[in-house]
Amino acid sequence: MHISVKKNLKKDKSALAGLVMLSLLVLIALAAPLFTKDPRAFSNLILSKPDINHILGTNDLGQDIFSRLFYGLRTSIFISIAAGALSTFLSVIIGIFSGLTGGIIDQIIMRIIDAMLVIPSIIILILISAFIKPDLIGLIILISIFHWQGGARIIRGQTLSLKQKGHIYSATTFGAKKAYILARHIIPDLGNIITASFLHNARSAVFLEAGIAFIGISAADTISLGTMMNRALEFYYLPVWAWWLLPAGIMLSLILISLTLLNNLIEKIIDPRLHDA
């Protein structure tokens, strides 16, 4: 199966839209300090309406909502990339190791994964978060610990099937060492699956972080879209929701939508049954 991602991307308009959207969001997040004020600076001006100085007004502490919106975006994107990368890294390492080693070690790893998949991770996450109030890095580690299993399972399965492929046998019979086969054949062949796993984990991470912040159990000093929505809801009786709650919700949706659209493309590429006729 020879795949050209570029070609597929050109054909799939929605995925292209997702890519453009995500790129824009990342660019904006990176450039945020250039066009925003200090998001943590307090002022006397609380819950003010949008004006020239504060495009989306201020919150109950007099902080600029516009600035906090984009810093919240930064947090979300950072956490999606970091947690996505870390959990995918764990999936790849454990999945390939398990698949290549086989035998009893493989069986043990698979049973541990099964056990972890059965536990509802979101509840555990909430419980632990409520207890330790994790900061950003802590949250990334926590989310990653609960998100590598699915990917590892898929990657192990693929590794098992790849192991039996002619070109891997051939490489072995040319005298290739395990490291070469891993770097030149197995990992590149798993590329699509690794990408899909990364996008999937990234999306979950964004959602989980926002969720944990929304129920108010993450570290208080983290600027997060979830925290913004949580705080804004406290003032639902004021018109502030229109420029406080809504933009945060929209921003979060945009990230999730763009990641989902891209993920759909990769899934389509991997699974021939989803190919257009």
């Binding site: 020879h2 002619g166 070109h167 051939s170 005298g175």
Partner: protein, 526 residues
């Protein structure tokens, strides 16, 4: 009766015969076999004592003892006493030998002492199957076979002790040839007969002993049947493979290169696929090997791979039960069996991809304990599924040079050179555009050739081909099989050919092994 001792003959300083040694006994029919130009006729003429007489530029050394008389030093008179009466010879060019102005009768009378030989001539002609009443005819009125018979009659009429026949059957049709073979057999009892020929069919039917001559040296000698059924010298095998026969199924294969004059070393070394350094420098002695004499530094065709008592079972199901096989240099052994009979399992065990439950594998007579680069540079495998054998991410250039890259040869120029060489060997283009194609751009036949090229780039001695043509249509299959055959001829590659197709097996194999219920049985092919 005849003993040739250290015979050397050279013309203008060029050695034609190099220290020949052999003996003939009464009652032996012995063949001297070799291609044109190997010195067969020179040998015959030396025995007849004709060399120094006929050629002023020739130098003869050594001895040829005929019943105690040394022909090499004998004077003209002594020789005349021997010729025709005790040693007779039938020359190769039948047409030029007979005098066109004499009738057959007078022709034969010429060599006979005294007069009134008519009755004897009649009888002898009848014995060789020539109608005596036609003895009045002139040579131009006779057919090839008849002329040959007349010459045989001349050779045998004086009841000589030694008869030399130079290509007695080479230009005759099948029927006449068989007829002549019977006659020669009948006439030869009690005599020593030396037959010089390149016609292997005649040799097999007529002779008991065979001397293989190449480049003026004896390279193999022994019982005809032993040499024909189990040739030990690469040249002998090559010659047998080149010879069409009615009961051979394997495609004809030649011997690579062309005969050339070799001053030093083994005369066959430029064409030999297993030659090593010493073959170039030193002429191998003619030594005794089991049932024959052999002149080869490597002890004849070398064994490449030996599988000894290999067993393997999957979950209690015995797939291989103490399986053994041998593969020699330049030999194709076919493993024939139904799907699921364990053919691929055995191949994978040899390649170190599966672990056998028990048994040993020897490569170049050393036991294999570690499947490392040294092993894989000697043994390569072509896997069954061509489509998956090359990663879809590699283009032709990357795929073909992957084995070299794995061996840490990364210089672009060397890689390109090697790729081009090996691609042209498998008859694929090697231009820039082709090198940049991906597997999905290529046809099944092209892919199969690339897989073969990949296996060849490490110059292995043994190739394991697992159903290399099962997914190809007939016309492409024919081309691939021919290609493998040619590569074998060129490189002296040993091959373990795995197939379920008996037709294919017969076309490519020197030996067919049937694998059934985990046991190997040899199928006899000729």
């Amino acid at each position: 009766m005849l003993e040739v001792k250290n015979l050397n003959v050279s013309f203008n300083g060029k050695k034609i015969l190099k220290s020949l040694n052999f003996k003939l006994k009464a009652g032996d029919i012995t063949a001297v076999v070799g291609e044109s130009g190997t010195g067969k006729t020179t040998l015959a003429m030396s025995i007849m004592g004709l060399i120094s007489e006929q050629f002023s530029n020739a130098k003869v050394s050594g001895n040829i003892f005929f019943n105690g008389i040394d022909i090499c030093t004998a004077d003209r008179n002594q020789l005349q006493q021997l010729r025709w009466k005790r040693i007779s010879m039938v020359f190769q060019n039948v047409d030029n030998i007979l005098n066109p102005t004499l009738s057959i009768n007078s022709q034969i009378s010429e060599i006979m002492p005294g007069k009134n030989n008519d009755l004897k001539i009649k009888n002898t002609l009848a014995r060789v199957g020539f109608p005596p009443e036609r003895a009045v005819a002139y040579p131009h009125q006779l057919s090839m076979g008849e002329k040959q018979k007349v010459l045989l009659a001349m050779a045998y009429i004086l009841e000589p002790e030694l008869v030399i026949l130079d290509e007695p059957t080479s230009s005759l049709d099948h029927h006449t040839r068989n007829n002549l073979i019977d006659i020669i057999k009948k006439m030869s009892s009690g005599r020593a007969v030396l037959i010089l020929t390149h016609d292997l069919d005649t040799v097999r039917k007529l002779t008991k002993k065979t001397i293989m001559l190449y480049g003026g040296s004896i390279i193999e000698a022994g019982d005809t049947e032993a040499i024909f059924s189990n040739p030990r010298h690469p040249y002998t095998r090559g010659l047998l493979r080149s010879f069409p026969s009615t009961d051979r199924t394997k495609d004809l294969q030649g011997i690579r290169g062309k005969p050339e004059f070799v001053e030093e070393g083994c005369p066959f070394h430029p064409r030999c696929t297993q030659s090593i350094n010493i073959c170039r420098i030193q002429k191998p002695p003619l030594d005794e090997y089991e049932d024959r004499m052999l002149s080869c530094h490597r002890g004849g065709i070398i064994p490449l791979l030996e599988v000894k008592d290999v067993s393997k079972s999957y979950n209690g199901l015995d797939v291989l039960k103490s399986v053994s096989l041998n593969i020699y240099e330049g030999e194709t052994v076919t493993l024939l069996g139904r799907s699921g009979s364990g053919k691929t399992t055995l191949a994978k065990i040899i390649m170190g991809l599966l672990k056998a439950d028990s048994g040993e594998i020897y490569l170049d007579t050393r036991q294999v304990n570690k499947w490392d680069f040294n092993f894989y540079s000697r043994v390569q495998m072509i896997f069954q599924e061509v489509a998956s054998a090359i990663s879809h991410r590699l283009n032709v250039f990357e795929a073909v040079t992957e084995p070299l890259v794995i061996q840490k040869i990364t210089e672009r120029k060397i890689l390109e050179e090697e790729a081009k060489k090996v691609l042209s060997e498998v008859q694929l283009p090697a231009d820039h555009d082709f090198l940049r194609l991906y597997p999905h751009h290529l046809s099944g036949g092209e892919l199969q050739r690339i897989v073969i090229a990949r296996a060849l780039i490490l110059s292995p001695g043994l190739l394991i081909a697992d159903e290399p043509t099962s997914s190809l249509d007939a016309s492409i299959q024919a081309k691939i099989l021919k290609l493998l055959n040619n590569i074998q001829e060129e490189r002296g590659l040993g091959m373990l050919f795995i197939t379920h197709d008996l037709g294919v097996a017969r076309k490519v194999s020197d030996k067919i092994l049937k694998l059934d219920n985990g046991i190997i049985t040899e199928e006899r092919i000729k």
